[in-house]
Amino acid sequence: AQTVTQSQPEMSVQEAETVTLSCTYDTSESNYYLFWYKQPPSRQMILVIRQEAYKQQNATENRFSVNFQKAAKSFSLKISDSQLGDTAMYFCALYSGGGADGLTFGKGTHLIIQP
């Protein structure tokens, strides 16, 4: 069975600071995909960033970047120059096939950006 662990239930930083959200995972598959999703109070699930396990280069999307450490099975999300609109639940998710063939999610980190 595959698992995703987010060890920080809640984090709070000041606007414009940089923040890193942690995620570790476990899977027996060699080919898999990792995602970070954002869920603001509006309840929408918004894709933030995606990483293919076979790519060594860390994915980046504007202010969002990941630190993918395959050997350590770690996939952290860094948000630079944080903005008030970044306040949301952030979910780390893993796809490696098998089972119900959907995403396996972590329990989420509630990120609060303070003005």
Partner: protein, 112 residues
Amino acid sequence: DTAVSQTPKYLVTQMGNDKSIKCEQNLGHDTMYWYKQDSKKFLKIMFSYNNKELIINETVPNRFSPKSPDKAHLNLHINSLELGDSAVYFCASAGASNQPQHFGDGTRLSIL
């Protein structure tokens, strides 16, 4: 022109009733999913459906049944609703299983 749309957004009903949640995607995706988000915000896959192949998470009670009239729709039927079914249900779609999933806005189901 919402990509993945769910109806209704809110559903309040009594224990024992049967209800359905509709989901439609206009992205031309081949795979659709249903997830359940509980009161602690934990998201769990319930079903995936691809080209008439249904994959069910073994923990889902058989009171839940997905129905797909065509590739763009995957509706969720729930029989004999129980208090523990109260949650937010998300529909999602993807071009392939390993591609990013696009989510609907969720349906908050409340059982009285």
